[in-house]
Each structure stands twice: as structure tokens, then as C-alpha cells.
Amino acid sequence: MIELMQEQDTYSAVFARMETETLDGGPEALLSLRKDAMQHFEELGFPTTKDEQWLYTNVSAIAKTTFCPATRPDVAVDAATLERESFAGCGFHRLVFVNGFFASELSDTTELDDKVTVISLTDALKQQPDTVMAHLAQYADYKTHAFAALNTAFMEDGAFIHVPKGVVVDKPIQLLFITVPNNETSNEPIVVHPRVLIITGESSQVTVLESYVGLGEQVYFTNAVTEIALGENAVIDHYKVQRESTKAYHIATMQLNQQRASNGASHVTSLGGDIVRNNINVVLDGEGCNCNLSGLYIPRGKQHVDNHLLVDHAKAHCDSREFFKGILDDDAHAVFTGKIIVRKDAQKTDGKQTNRNLLLSDSARVDTNPQLEIFANDVKCTHGATIGQLDDDALFYLKTRGIETEAARSLLIYAFASEILDEIKIEAVREQVNNILLDRLPQGDRFRGFKGLQ
């Protein structure tokens, strides 16, 4: 307990110092929001495995490490890296952040429709403080979630996206978060608190991709919060491809609030990170919503990946689907918690949860808990979870046709993943994840260029 207090004290001290210096920009309301969040963080402290929401994910390594706030890095991101990471040639609109700081020289929103706003959060707070403050921290709950509180207190910069009523954004908007060592000589672990706010108007449509990339193998901490206010009858496809350094900590909260008849989708690919937690919270706050959450995690070594989903069916006639798959090797550990709450008035709810895990080694471990809390009586909810190894019968069948063991294993692993890869509708992104997967498979090269092994 005492130790924990000290861990929080570090953040408190930093907050006190920064409060008068760097954080004092922007509207008055923002500073009081930060102070309130800091106060809540001090009260909450870092969660422990005694906390029901954190039973299987131990964040003491994060709590114990002293991270220094990132400063604007003096290390440049080279052109080749940018080209690779930003899907050059695909014409995505993009904002790039290096160690949390907006890098306007690397960003490109020139092709964007005038009616759509895609700017850094800092700029947004200057240009339209009232709109931003009306939404910021209104969805992601920092009063009970320590990491959201920490982000809210310390958020440095991030993205602000506004898609007005009726507007369909042609190309995906990419938010590229790159983390590099603070400067070339320092290996000091840094912490970055990226913040994303997306507001969409009635009947609008947009696709957003958040890419997290760690250059190098250093220890750092990404503590991200994304809030999405999805308007009536609006559509959003949200993707996250997380490729942090394998020593990094990545804790992220995505809060999606959906209005009537809206259609929200989120897909999370977890590849990097030492301790990874994706909180994905959805509130279906109007009738007739559709929500589709999917994800793929491929931990190996000692990686720990926790996907923590909460879908709150607040209104009637909404459909939600959770579909997550994991492939675990070595000593990896994965956690899946998929909770569906169906409120008293949410009749005709259709909720479906599926979590499938493939274990490639005897020491890999999965804890999966689909949970249903149902207070309405006319609903349809199903859940299913599986943890298994490669199918021996299938392996044997492939081998009797001449296919070598390694290739047969790769084929089956790839087939297992391909179903979830198909959930990625942006071709370039699907290709990116596909290639990373193939790089990891023995003889994966054989499958390159095939779509779904057809």
C-alpha cells in the first residue's frame, strides 16, 4: 500500500510541477478538468489484481517504473519510415504524432473535404474550445478508471476529428503515433498520453485508423484514450493496429457512444507491447444501433495482452457482436473479457460474443470470460469461447497430401487468422497485418499474395 502511494506521488509531483508550466495552456475549463482527473487518479491509484476488472492483468510493473514525461523529440523520423507507416500511395489523410507531439511537417490533410476537421487537439482547443470542451472527457469515465484519469490529467496532444452531418469522408483518416527514444543519448523510459476525440454528425460516415508504432526496443508507456461520439444514423469504422516495442506498455481506452440507428465498428490488432490492455467500451444509447467489435492478438515471448470489452445496451433493438481471436506462442498470456449489459428497457437486444484462441505452445495461457448481465426479458444473447491447439486431424490430413509439418502448421495458423483478417475492410491495412503475420510463420512466404488461401 505504502509503495503504491509513492508510485502515485511521483505522478502527483510531476503534475504539480507541470500544472504551472506546460499544462497551463488552453481554456480554463481544461485546467480544472485536469485537476479533477488528477484528484481522481490520486484517490483510485493504480489498479491491482484484487480489482475485479484487473484480475488477470498485473500492472505493477507500470506502477513501479518512473516514467518521465515525453518532451518534443530531437530525433527525426526518416522519410522511409514515414512512407512505410503512412501507407504512401493510398491517399489516407493523416496526422502524425511523435512521442505524443503533433508533427505537422509529417502530417497531410490537404486532400480533405473542407467541411471535415482533422486537426491536433491543441489546435482544436485554440480554434474551437467550446466544441471540444463540450465533448472532451464526457464519454471516457475518468472517475472510476485510473488510466483514463491519468490520461485526462496529463494529455499533451492528440487528434480532433469532426465530421459534420451528412458528410462521407472518402478515404481513411490515419492517426499515426510513433514513439522514439526521448533523444538519441537517453534511454529513460517515457510516458505518452495520446488523446483522440472524434465527433460525427447525423448520417455521416468516416473510417479512422490509429497506428501505434515503436521505433527501437526501448521501454516506454503509451496511455491512450479515444472518445467517439457517433451521431444518429452515422457510420464509423475504427481500426487500431498496435505495434509498440515489445518492451513497451500499452494501455488504451476506446469509448464509443452511439446514437440512434448508428453503426459502429472497431477492430484492434495487437502485435507489440509487453503489457497490453485494450479497454473497449460501447454505449448503445439509441434504438436500432449496430455495433461490431473485433480483434486479433498474436502475443509471443512473454507478452501479455488483455482485451476488455464492455457493451452497454441501454436502448432497445440494438445488435452487438464481439469477435476476437488470439494466436499465442511461447509464454504469452492473453485475457479476454467480453461483457454485455442489457438494461431493463433494452428489449429485442441481439448480442453475440465469440472468443477463439489457438495455443501454439504448452506454456501459453488464456483467461477468457464472456459475461452477460441481462435485465430485460426479450433478448437474444449468445457467447462462446474456445481455447485449443492446432487440430491434429487436420494436420495429419494435410501431411498425408505431402505438405511438410511446418508448412501444414503455418497453413492452419494462417487459416485460423484469415477469418479475422477479413474483418479489416481497408485493403492496405489488411495487407499490412497479413504480411506481419506471414513474417512470423515458418514458411509464411509461401502464402504471400494469396487472399484467404483461395
Partner: protein
């Protein structure tokens, strides 16, 4: 009369020699000393009651490691194959048409079969085929069993009807051109039209360098695929062998009359 085929140049005129083969699963002995020799070009049939070990024998021949071979040997074209992986045996020309073909979701049939064919071709020192050449190559083979080309686009066996699965097995055999094909109840569950198609497919592949081991419960199949020899497997042993007329006898009298007199002599 069994056909006899002699080819002096051919070093593996004995296609398959199974000598005193014993196999267990978890201390439970299933094959209890099987002896069987198949010459190049011959068609042998194995019949026997449920649970007598027919599929076990087929799977052991193909290299399934669930079964532990505790005694005996298997020579394929003169080579001991007991230490070979299933894929190595396949590359050497062994093929098993499964009694219950496995569904493999997410793996397209065309992709799978090209990977298989290329593995075998590579082993034979032939050039690997690209997707276009492969499609050209399989066109003929599909006609062997009148297989619907659409099945190539689907996942391996997934959602195939029973008949489609069996046809697909024979189609795969036609593609891989094995020298020793084991067909485990490929006829079961087929209607007469499908049975004829499958049998025609097999017959079209009969040649002096290729042997077949046809496992079946039904004499009906043997009207179409006429065997040189018929063997009866009961409780892990071949208790009787004969020509194709043995199948007719079994059809008429069942296994019980065979079992009784043989029991003493094989115990």
C-alpha cells in the same frame, strides 16, 4: 484369376509388404499381426466388421502417430517407411482417401491442393506449378470424378456433402498420382450414380505401376472396382484371403461363419 504382372526392371514389384504388423493405441492393441503383400498393379480389397481395425491399418500405413507400431514392418517399394513422416510417405507415392475427410475451414481447396502437388512434384524433381498452370492441370483431373469446379473455391471439405467429400478424395488422388492408393470406405454413403463415377475414376487410374487397397463393407463396390484379392480383417488380423468371389461369399453368409473356424488357428 488374379492378374499377375512382371516387370524385371522394376525394383519395387512388391509395392507394399506388411509383415507381422502390431499397432496399439494407449496400451490397447488394435492390429495384432497383419501380413499382407501387394504387388505393383494389383487391387486388393479388405473387408471386415465394424471396429476390426481396417481404418487403423489404413492410418498406420499413412503414418498417423496416434498409433504406436510395436512389432513388425512396412516396406513400401522395398523401403522401410515406419520412420517416415506422413508427408514423406506421400511424396514417395502413398495416398490415403479418408473414411472421414477432415474439414479445414479457411484453407481453400485449390490452394491446399496446389501446395500438396508442388510438395510432391518437388520431391520427384519436377518443376513447381504456378496458379495458372495448376488450374490448367486440374481441369482434366476434375473430370475424372465429374467434380464441380466451384468446390475448388471453397475451404477444404467444409460444408461438402458426404458424396462431395468422397469425390474430392478421389479427385485429390487423381491430382497427386500416387503409386499406392488406400481407399477407406470411399463408397460408403454414395448413391449408385456417384458410386459409378467414383469407381470409374479409380478404374481409369489403374495401371501396372499403381496399386490399390480398397477398404469396404459392401460387395457392391467390388462389382465396379474388381479386385485381384479380397482379405477379411477380423479383430486386428487377416483371417482369410481369396479372390473376388470371397466378397460374394461374405455378402451371403456374413463374417460369423468365417470367424469361428479361424479363431483357433490364429489365436
Amino acid at each position: 484369376m488374379p492378374r499377375s504382372f512382371k516387370n524385371e526392371k522394376d525394383p519395387w514389384i512388391q509395392m507394399l509388404e506388411i509383415k507381422n504388423l502390431h499397432a496399439c493405441v494407449e496400451d490397447n492393441e488394435i492390429l495384432k499381426g497383419v501380413n499382407l503383400t501387394i504387388k505393383a498393379g494389383e487391387v486388393h480389397s479388405i473387408m471386415g466388421p465394424n471396429g476390426s481395425g481396417k481404418s487403423t491399418l489404413a492410418q498406420v500405413l499413412a503414418g498417423r502417430d496416434t498409433y504406436e507400431v510395436t512389432q513388425g514392418e512396412i516396406l513400401f517399394k522395398g523401403k522401410n517407411i515406419l520412420d517416415m513422416e506422413p508427408n514423406e510417405r506421400a511424396c514417395e507415392g502413398m495416398f490415403l482417401a479418408f473414411q472421414y475427410p477432415v474439414e479445414i475451414p479457411g484453407v481453400g481447396t485449390a490452394y491446399f491442393l496446389r501446395a500438396a502437388l508442388n510438395a510432391v512434384r518437388k520431391h520427384r524433381g519436377q518443376e513447381e506449378l504456378d496458379a495458372a498452370d495448376f488450374l490448367e492441370y486440374v481441369k482434366d483431373k476434375m473430370s475424372v470424378v465429374d467434380m464441380d469446379a466451384k468446390l475448388l473455391q471453397r475451404s477444404v471439405n467444409e460444408g461438402f456433402s458426404g458424396g462431395e467429400k468422397k469425390r474430392s478424395e478421389i479427385f485429390q488422388m487423381a491430382v497427386l498420382e500416387p503409386s499406392m492408393a488406400i481407399l477407406d470406405e470411399t463408397d460408403s454413403g454414395l448413391d449408385i450414380d456417384a458410386l459409378k463415377i467414383v469407381a470409374d475414376g479409380v478404374n481409369s487410374m489403374r495401371n501396372p505401376e499403381r496399386s490399390f487397397l480398397v477398404i469396404t463393407h459392401y460387395q457392391r463396390l467390388l462389382n465396379y472396382i474388381v479386385p485381384d484379392y479380397v482379405h477379411v480383417l477380423i479383430d486386428g488380423r487377416i483371417v482369410r484371403s481369396g479372390g473376388k468371389e470371397l466378397a460374394l461369399e461374405l455378402e451371403e453368409k456374413g463374417y460369423s461363419h468365417i470367424n469361428a473356424p479361424m479363431a483357433g488357428s490364429t489365436a
